[in-house]
Symmetry: C2
Amino acid sequence: MPVFKAPVQDTLFVLNDVLGIERYANMPGFADVGPDLLEAITAEAAKVAEEVMFPVNLSGDQEGCVRNHDASVKAPKGFKAAFDQYCQGGWLGLSMPEEFGGQGLPYTLHSAVSEYLISANMALMMYPGLTQGAIAAILEHGSDAQKQTYVPNMVAGTWTGTMNLTEPHCGTDLGLLRTKAVPQGDGSYKISGQKIFISAGEHDMSDNIIHLVLARIEGAPEGTKGISLFIVPKFMVNEDGSLGARNGVSCGALEHKMGIHGNATCVMNYDDATGYLIGGENKGLAAMFVMMNEARLGVGLQGLSIGEIAYQNAAQYARERIQGRSLSGPKAPNLKADPIIVHPDIRRALMTMRAFNEGGRAFALWTALQSDIAHRSDDAKARETASDLLGLMTPILKGVMTDKGFDHAVMAQQVYGGHGYIEEWGMSQYVRDARIAMIYEGANGIQALDLVGRKLPANGGRAVMALFNEIGAFCEENRSNEALSGFTKVLKKGLNDLQASTMWFMQNAMAKPDNAGAGSYDYMHMFGIVVIGYMWARMAKVAEAELAAGNSPREDYLKNKLITARFYMDKVMPETALRKTRIETGADTMMELAAEAF
Amino acid sequence: MPVFKAPVQDTLFVLNDVLGIERYANMPGFADVGPDLLEAITAEAAKVAEEVMFPVNLSGDQEGCVRNHDASVKAPKGFKAAFDQYCQGGWLGLSMPEEFGGQGLPYTLHSAVSEYLISANMALMMYPGLTQGAIAAILEHGSDAQKQTYVPNMVAGTWTGTMNLTEPHCGTDLGLLRTKAVPQGDGSYKISGQKIFISAGEHDMSDNIIHLVLARIEGAPEGTKGISLFIVPKFMVNEDGSLGARNGVSCGALEHKMGIHGNATCVMNYDDATGYLIGGENKGLAAMFVMMNEARLGVGLQGLSIGEIAYQNAAQYARERIQGRSLSGPKAPNLKADPIIVHPDIRRALMTMRAFNEGGRAFALWTALQSDIAHRSDDAKARETASDLLGLMTPILKGVMTDKGFDHAVMAQQVYGGHGYIEEWGMSQYVRDARIAMIYEGANGIQALDLVGRKLPANGGRAVMALFNEIGAFCEENRSNEALSGFTKVLKKGLNDLQASTMWFMQNAMAKPDNAGAGSYDYMHMFGIVVIGYMWARMAKVAEAELAAGNSPREDYLKNKLITARFYMDKVMPETALRKTRIETGADTMMELAAEAF
C-alpha cells in the first residue's frame, strides 16, 4: 500500500531560509508569518493530508464517480467527509480575504500546504481547486453584490465552483465557442449549449455549484472578441441567500477518463439556464484568464505533488525490495539479496526525482511569492517586477513541472518493476492522474507558445531581461565563493545557453515565425532547467553557509541538500546545451512534409 | 475511433532496398523471399491486422478478461475468433520449421508482419507471442519426444504456451526462486509453488496450455545454479496425443493491470502438478534464456508497434482537428480555424514519432536478420558475427524501443488535447499498453545493465568493436558523397561520443563498478540513438541514389524519407553529447546519500 509523509522540513527550509519570507512582514497577511506560525500551519496541513485526504485516494480511484439516473453524481466514498474536514479547518480560504471569511494569509503559504494535500489526493483537491479559481474571478471581476452572494459560501466550501470553457469543437481556440447567451431584459441571460471536460461539474460534495461559463451573447462579434463570462448557479439563490429552484444546467454524462477517477469530470448541458454576466459584455476572456492563471499555478503544483508522492513510494519500495547484489559487493550479507536501493540505476531514478522535487518546490514557492508581492505590496515598482516574473514563470511552472511530475511518476513506477503495473500498488494511479496535468488548463505545447509568443516579447522583453540580470548577478556575486563556484559556473553556462537561444529567437523568428513555434517546447524546458538550477544554487548557498557556521541542528539534511544540488548540476543542467542545439536547427525539417504525407 | 493502416511500403523499402534481403537467398527459407513474395505476404498480414485484430482491440481493453468461479478465464469477446483466423492463416508458424507444421520463412519476415499485428492488437498478440517463445525453448532444449508431443500443436495454435519465471519475492533475481520440483522416479516431477504476472496463463483461446516453469529440484544448489526448467501442460497429454486429465495447475487470480487488459495475466498456482524436465537438471537458466531473448526482441517490437499506431492516429487527428491559426498566416481560410497540423509544435511531436518509427523499423528488421543469419547461415564466421550483433542489439532494441514507444504514445495522446485523456478515443489504451513493455522481460534498467555489464565486455569487446568498425567504415566510404555528407558527419560525431563513453567505462568502471551502473541507462539510449542514426544514414543513401537515378515511381515517398532523415540528424542525434556528459560525471552524486535519507 502506498505511503505519504508531507515534506514539511523542506518546505520550511525554502520559506524561511531560501525565500526569507519574514522580510515581507509589511505586506498584508504576512505580519505573523514567521518560523513558528509556518511550522504550526504546515504541521497541521500535513496531518490533514496524511490522515484525512490520503486514506481515500486509492479507493477513490478504484471506485470512481457515479452518475445516477436523475443526472445527480456521487463522488467516491469518504470524499465528502474528507472535504468537509478540509473546509472546517479553514484550508479552502487560507489565503482568501478575511472580509469573505478567509484567513488572509499569504498565497505562498496556501501553495505550500496545497502541495501536500494534492500529493495525498489530487482528484479530491480539484473540487476546492476549481472553487478557488472561481472565487478569484468573482473577486476580481464581479460586482459587490455578486461577491456578497457567492464568495462567502464558496470560501466556506458549502458551495463549490467550476470553470466552463471547453466545447466539443473548441478547446485551445476559444474563438470557436458556440454556447449562447440571450439577454432577458432583467439583467439576466438564458444560457444554452454544451460544455465538456468540466471538472467537479456535478457532485454531492457541496450544497450548490457555481458555474462560471463562457458564452457568446446573441449578436456578439465572432471570435474571441465576442465572448462573455457568466455565473450560472446550479440552484438559484434567493434574495435572502437561501437556495431556490434548480437551474437549467445538468450533467449529461461523466467522461471515462484515464485517471483522476475521483473527480467528477462532466459533460454539462445548459438549457436556457439563468446566468449573470460577470466582467462586462464581450470581456469574458479577461475575466476567464484570472481563473486560468490561478489554475495554471495550481496545475504546476499538481506536477510537483505527484512527483513527490511517487518519489516517496519508490524510495520506500527500493529500501524494502531485495533483489540482486550490489556491483561493489553485498551490502546486506545477512539477507539473500541486497535492497535494490544499492543499484546505481535505481539511485539515478530516485535522485532525478528528488532533485526536481526539491528544486521544483523552491521554484513553485518562489513563483507563489511573486503572486503575493504583485497583489499585496505597497511598492508599485515591486508589484510590477513581481507581476512580470509571475507572468513569465506561469507557463514554465505549468509546462515543466507537469511534464516532470508525469515523467517521475513513470520513473517511480519503473522502480517497482512488475508490481508498478498492478493497480493495487498505487503507482499506476499516480501515472494516470499526473497525465492530465500536462493537458488541461492549456496543453503544455500551448504553455510553450504562451512563453515564447507572449511572455518573452511583452513590454520589450522587460520580464526576461530582469530575470537574466538577477541570475547573472547571483553568479557574479558568488563567483569568488569557492564553496559555491561549482554551482555558479554550471548555472552561468546554462544561463548563457538560455540567453543565446533567446537571442536566436529574436533574430530568426521575426522573418519566420515557425522558428519560434518549432523551438518553443525546448525553450520552455530549457528555461525551467535554468530557473530550477538557480533555485538549487540559492539553496546550496544557504546550506553551505549554515554548515560552515557549524553546530547546525540539521546537518544531515543540509549535507543531503548539497549532494542533491551537485547531482542536479552534474546530470540535469547539461541538458541546456542539447535544447539550444535543437532550437538552432529551426523549423525546416518539421514543416516540409505535406499534411497528407503523415 | 482509432484508425490503423499497416506501413507496408516502408517495410518493403527496408527489407528489399536497405537490407537487400535477396542477397541471403542461399540461406534456408530465404530462397523465394524476393519483392513479389514479400509484397504478397505483407499485404495479407496487413489485412489480418487491420480487419481481424484491430476491430477487437479497443473493446478488448474495455471488456478485459474475466475469471470464473471454477478458475477458468474468458478472454474478451472476439479474441478467440480473431486468434483462430490468425492461426488458420499460418501466421503463428510463419518462421517455424516445416517439419513441425511451420512455413520455415525468415524470422525477419515474421518480425515485419508481427509489427502490424501488434500495432493492431498488442494484448491479443501476446497469446501467440508467448507461444512462440515456448516453442523456441522446446526446439532448442527439448528431447525429440517432447518436440513431437508439443510443438506441432503449438505451431498450429491449438495449444498455446507460457513462461513461468516470476514469483512474488523474485523477479529480476531468479536465484531467489522457491517453486519446488520433486522427482517421481518415472522421469516426471511434481511441481509446487506460486508464479505471478503469467501472461496468457489461463484462457479459453486454445485447447491446451503448455507452461514452461522454472523450479528448483529438491536438494538442488541455492541461487541460479539450482534452477531447472519444466514443461507443465494444463491438460495431460495421452500417448496417442489426445488430451487427458487436468493437471494440478490453476489460475488463482487475474492481476488488475494498468493496461493490456485483453491479455489474461495470471497468478498461477502449482499444486503437485506433473512436470517434465527440459534442458537438463539445474540447467534451467540457459533454456529459459532462449525464450527470454526471443521475448525481448518481441517486446522491442511492441514498442515500435505502439509507437506506430499512436503516430498514425495523432497524424489523423492533427489533420482533422481545427483550432487556431498558423503562425505564418491562415492555411485553411475557408474554415474557421486551421487544422492543428499547421502548428510547429504539433509537427515536432509527429516528426519525432515518425523518425523513431521508421528508424526503429529498420533497426528491428536489421536485428531480426542477424537472428536469421546466426541460426541459418552456412558460414561459421557470418554466424558468429551475426550472433555477436544480435546479442549486443537485443537489450538496446528492447530498452530503447519500448521507452520510445511509450514516450510516443504519450506524445500522440498529447496531440489530442483533452480528448486524449478520454478512454473512448483510444489513445489512453496505447499509453497504458505500451507501459508494460518497459517493465516485463527484464525491466529496461536491467537491459542497460545487461548491455554494459555483459554484452560490452563479452569476448573482449568483439561485438562492439565490429559494430563500431562497420559504422565507421560506412561514414568513411560515403564521406566524399556530397549528398550524404550531412548525414555521415552527424553520424560520425555520434559514433565518436559513443566510443568515448565506451572508453570511459573501460577506464572508470573497473576500479569502481558503480560508475558502469550509473551511466548504463544513458549509454543504452546513446547506443540506440547512434544505431538508429546508422539506419537513417543507410536509408538516406538508398533514397538519394534512387532519386538521383530519376524516374522513381515512389519519388514523394523517398523525398519524405530524406526530410525525416534530416530531422533525425538535426533533432535527435545531438542527444549523444548530453548522454556522454552525464556518463562522465559518474556515480558519486548518486551513491552518496544514505538509504534512509531518501
